[in-house]
Structures are given as C-alpha cells and as structure tokens.
C-alpha cells in the first residue's frame, strides 16, 4: 500500500507541471497582454506608466522565464497579487473563499448520496415498476435541466412568489449581532436553495449509477447464496447487496469534483454567495489574470487530490484490490 501511495504521489509531479504549463499557456496565448487589459480602461495612462507596469509584472521578460518565475512562486504558494483595486495577495483571497465553496459542496454531496443511494436501490429492486419508470424520467430530466434555469425558477417561487427563502447572500444584514442559534438558522435558510441547485443535477446521474450498480450486484452468486440460506430480503439487499454496490461510487466521487467546483460559478453568481466560483467569475469579468490563473491551478489541484483520495479509499474499501503488488 505504501509503495503504491508513493508511486501515485510521484506521478503527481508531472501532472502538476502539466497543469501549470496548460494554465500558463492558456492565459498567455490569448491575444492582449494583461497590462493592455488594465490600461484599456484608462486612456490617460501614458507610455511611461505602461512600461513601468509591464516591468513590474515581469511581462518584458521572455515567456519561458516568466513561466519559470511563476512556477517558482507557485511552489512557494505565492500566487501573486490581484490586479483589482485592493491589490491583495491572490492566495489570501482564495483562502477566505475556498471554505465557503467546499462546505457548500460537501453539504450538497451528503444530500446527493443520502438521496441517490436509497433511490437507486429501490429502483433496482423494483425494476420495471411504475416507481422505476418514474425515476428514469426524473433522471433524464435531471440531466437536461440547465442549473441556472432551475436556480431562477426556485428563486421566483420560493423567493419572490412565496417569500419563504432569502434569494441572495449567506446571511441577513445585521445577523452578526444575533445569538448563535438564530445566526445559524438564518444561514441554513440562505443555504437551502443553493444546495438544492448544486445537488440536483448530479443527483440524477448518481441515482442512475446506483441503480445499475445494484442491478449488477443482484445478479451475482453471493446474493443467490444469501437468499438460499434464508436471510430476509431486507438483509440481502441492504447489507449484502448495498455494500458491494457502493464500491464504484467511491471512484465516482473523485470524478465528480471538477464538475462540482465548475458548477459553483453558476449558483454562486446567481445567489451572490461569496465563494470561489464567484471570485473566479469576478476575476474573469475584470480580467484579473493572477486570480484566474490561481483558481484554475487550485481547482485542478483539488481534482487531482480528490482522485488520489478516491483511489486510495477504494483500495481500503475493497480488499480484493491489492495496490502495488503484481
């Protein structure tokens, strides 16, 4: 196991280098220099100031040197400073946003798995019944609904029409002075719609996946054995069956990370949630190079870590898999 882990971590190095190379290329191949982008807003800036800024950002150096400097800084966790007026270090900006996005996604993931597992199992055990067909319809619609549209509809119904839920932000203004319980309840209320939107799309896919995994397991010999020795159907399905059907979900969890992070742009923008997705959108709109590059690299890095963790967990969960031997 430890040998396998070492190998996997060693393999991360070229992948990480590749990620930085692609990020750098993407940003620098695009027409227009970052300085131009800043200057374009302000016609009064003379050539002098332009040159000074170019020098300040190191943009007068050859590309490979720029890349080398950027990666060296990156290795020291220095992502540079934001181009926006506050000029703060990008890392600080990301640090205060990341927990919001991650906790929101974890809540959404828990909700997804909590719903998708029973839905998938029930659909598999009641194959071809009305329930199963209903789930199939739901799954196809879930795949096709644009999340931003769903967000708008929820906003209209629960926020505007019924007035039950707040439509933006994480807190009500002035909630800082409330007691802990009321403060948390207020936050929970703000989170209901974003979490629903974040989990809806993947819920469909996950239920479908769970259904086919369970169908696959039900056909196995050990299920026949479990039934033959007189175990109740409940134990057969929920204990013997479910445990085996859950295994592939671990890998799926790893794969779903980029989608979750990417999707955060949409609902964080719509619901005005101060997370990484919103920061990225703002960075993109104001052409804030360091912020965009920083988030791209960190997003890719999170995905990489997620996949690694999922693979390792899979090894722990399934004793049939022996990493690093043979």
């Amino acid at each position: 196991m430890s040998v396998y882990l070492l190998k996997r971590v060693a393999l991360l190095v070229p992948l990480l280098l590749g990620i930085t190379l692609i990020t750098f290329t993407v940003i620098h191949l695009a027409p227009g220099e970052p300085v131009e982008m800043q200057m374009a807003m302000n016609p009064k800036v003379g050539k002098d100031a332009r040159d000074r800024l170019t020098k300040f950002y190191g943009l007068d150096k050859p590309l490979h040197e720029q890349y080398f400097n950027w990666v060296t800084n990156l290795a020291q966790l220095n992502l540079g400073r934001s181009f926006s007026s506050d000029n703060r270090p990008v890392l600080d900006k990301i640090k205060e946003r990341l927990p919001v996005t991650i906790s929101l996604n974890i809540i959404a993931l828990l909700l997804e798995f909590g719903l998708a597992i029973p839905i998938g199992v029930l659909a598999a055990t009641r194959r071809d019944t009305l329930f199963d067909k209903g789930i199939t319809v739901f799954v196809f619609i879930g795949f096709a609904v644009p999340t931003f549209w769903l967000a708008l509809l929820l906003m209209y119904f629960f926020g505007v029409r019924l007035g039950w839920l707040p439509i933006s932000g994480l807190h009500t203004l002035g909630s800082d002075s409330w007691g802990t319980v009321r403060y948390l309840a207020d936050m929970a209320k703000h989170l209901i719609m974003p979490v629903m939107v974040a989990s809806f799309g993947s819920l469909a896919g996950l239920s479908r996946y769970m259904r086919s995994a369970m169908l696959n397991v039900i056909g196995q010999d050990y299920i026949v054995t479990a039934r033959a020795k007189g175990l109740s159907e409940r134990v057969v399905i929920w204990k013997h069956g479910l445990r085996n059907a859950l295994l592939p979900l671990i890998t799926l969890l790893g794969f779903s990370i980029p989608g979750l992070i990417g999707g955060s742009v949409i609902f964080e923008t719509i619901y005005a949630i101060p997370g990484m997705g919103q920061l990225f959108y703002q960075g993109v709109m104001s052409r804030d190079y360091p912020v965009v590059m920083g988030i791209l690299v960190i997003g890719a890095f999170l995905t990489l870590t997620g996949n690694l963790i999922a693979d390792v967990c899979y090894g722990f969960a399934d004793p049939r898999i022996r990493h690093g031997e043979g």
Binding site: I19, A30, P146, P258, G262, V265, Y281, V284, G299, L304
Partner: protein, 285 residues
C-alpha cells in the same frame, strides 16, 4: 467494409433503434428543431430584433404566444432564431471535439509506447481542470463571439472521445484484417484511417450525440453569464439572462427559454442513449 456496415445498419441497428420509443421521440424533436431553425423567418410574422415600444413586457397573448421582452420583441420569435445559435454551437463544438478526440485516440492506440503515454497524460491533465472554469478563463481573454465559443467548447471537450477511440483501437489493432492490411504493405496512415477508423467510430456516435446536448447547455450557461453570444443576437441563454432581471414581473421571459433548452437537451440525450442501446450487442430485447 462499407457494404458490411451498410447491411448492418439496415438489418440490426435501425430495427433496434426503432423499437425504442423514447429514442424515436427524441429523434423526432431533434428533426423538428432543425426544420424550425431553418424556417424561422417563415414561421413567425415578427422580426427577432425589431423593437416595439407599445408592447413592452406583454404577458403571453394571442398575438405573442410566449409574451414579449423588455424591448417589446416577441419571445417566441427570439426563441426560434435562438435555436440557430444552439444548433450551430452544438454541432460545430462537437465536430471539433470529436475530430481531435478521434485523431488523438487513433494515434495513441495504434502507435502505443511513448506517444501513447504522452497523449494519455495530456488527457489526464486536461481532465483535472474543472471544464467550466477552463472555458470561462479562455473565453474571457478573447472577443466574445460565437466562433470562439464553439472552438473553446470543442477544445475542452475531446478527452472522453480520445479515451473511447483509444480503447477501441487497442482491440481492433490486433484483428486479423489489420494484420492482413499490413501484410499487403498498407501504410500506417492507410491502416489507421481506412481499416481501424471505420470500425472504431460507432461508439463515437453516442458520445457525439450526447456531446451536442452538453455543448448546448454550456453555451446557454455562458450566454446567461453574459460571456457567450452577445445581444442583440438572440440565444436561449441571453434571453434567460434578461429574464433574470425581470423575474419579479415577467415569468414568461424566464420560463420559455429554459423549457426550450430542457426539451432540446432531453431529446438529444434520449436519442444518444437509444443509439447506445441499439449498438450494444449485450442488450437483448
């Protein structure tokens, strides 16, 4: 080869697809959408860009079935014209993604070795990026135009196809007819494109159909965020974006474009799944 696949299409694939009612329904909607987007000017008496100050934000009426927007333009007409953008983006983006993915997969699977490792690591790296982040980042630094959107969606979406084609190529490479082709002195180029490609292409059909749906969704999300197709050109996404601003008093501006996206994406997905089932010899009905 061509004769074989033709008879296969007629005798196996088509009857199997035809039995799948959902896939046929999806295919029909896809076909109708094509006709609608081609005939948009014939179907509506209104222009998609003509501003009418007398009927601003009118709810659905007999004259304006889906209501009008903040500039008095007919929403249904704008949706009809918007379908052109969606279809164009869907097909061109997927065309780019499938072409790149197929070539990478074929080369990677056929040559193996170092070429294979390098290309597959590239795929791994590309898959690490949250796709929507990558697309947003690239598009921002370009002029907003429909062509760039298609290119960027295509350039960030070829990895799945590459893996699929590589896997197919790996098994086809060992077939006797490939050996035979090599024996009679065919060039690598000819073996790849004349012998392996036609046999590896059918699974690509499925991911291409599903890919069109994905590209349409991505384009509408980009236009919704204001980075995609720019007004006054109507696109389902940017109609929804203005719907967002008027959501408190004009629900029709948000409801109908979303439904259009939903139905279109749903149809492509149903068709794609149907093709997959029809191609899969393990599924017997």
């Amino acid at each position: 080869m061509a004769r074989f696949s033709q008879s296969y299409t007629i005798s196996v694939f088509w009857p199997r697809l035809k039995r799948n009612q959902l896939a046929i329904a999806g295919g029909t909607v896809v076909l109708i959408l094509f006709i609608v987007s081609l005939c948009a000017p014939l179907l509506s008496p209104y222009s998609p860009s003509e501003i009418n100050a007398y009927s601003v934000l009118s709810p659905p009426t007999w004259h304006h079935w889906f209501g009008t927007d903040e500039l008095g333009r007919d929403v249904l007409t704008r949706l009809l014209y918007g379908s052109r953008v969606s279809l164009k983006v869907g097909f061109v983006a997927v065309g780019i993604a499938v072409s790149i993915g197929t070539v990478v997969g074929l080369v990677s699977g056929y040559y193996g070795g170092v070429v294979d490792s390098i290309l597959m690591r590239l795929v791994d790296i590309m898959l690490c990026f949250p796709a929507f982040f990558l697309i947003l980042a690239i598009i921002t630094f370009l002029e907003p135009s429909i062509w760039y959107i298609m290119m960027v969606i295509g350039l960030t979406g070829w990895m799945g196809v590459a893996r699929l084609v590589r896997a197919e190529t790996l098994s086809i490479r060992e077939m006797d007819y490939v050996l035979a082709a090599r024996c009679i002195g065919c060039s690598n180029h000819r073996i790849i494109f004349r012998h392996i490609f036609p046999n590896a292409v059918s699974p690509v059909l499925v991911s291409a159909t599903l890919g069109v749906a994905g590209a349409i969704l991505t384009e509408s999300a980009l236009s919704f965020l204001g980075i995609g197709v720019q007004p006054p050109t109507p696109s389902w996404g940017n109609i929804l974006a203005s719907g967002k601003d008027y959501i408190e008093f004009a629900w029709w501006l948000s409801l109908f474009p979303g439904l259009a996206i939903l139905v279109t994406v749903l149809s492509y997905n149903l068709l794609g799944e149907g093709i997959r089932d029809a191609l899969d010899p393990r599924i017997k009905r």
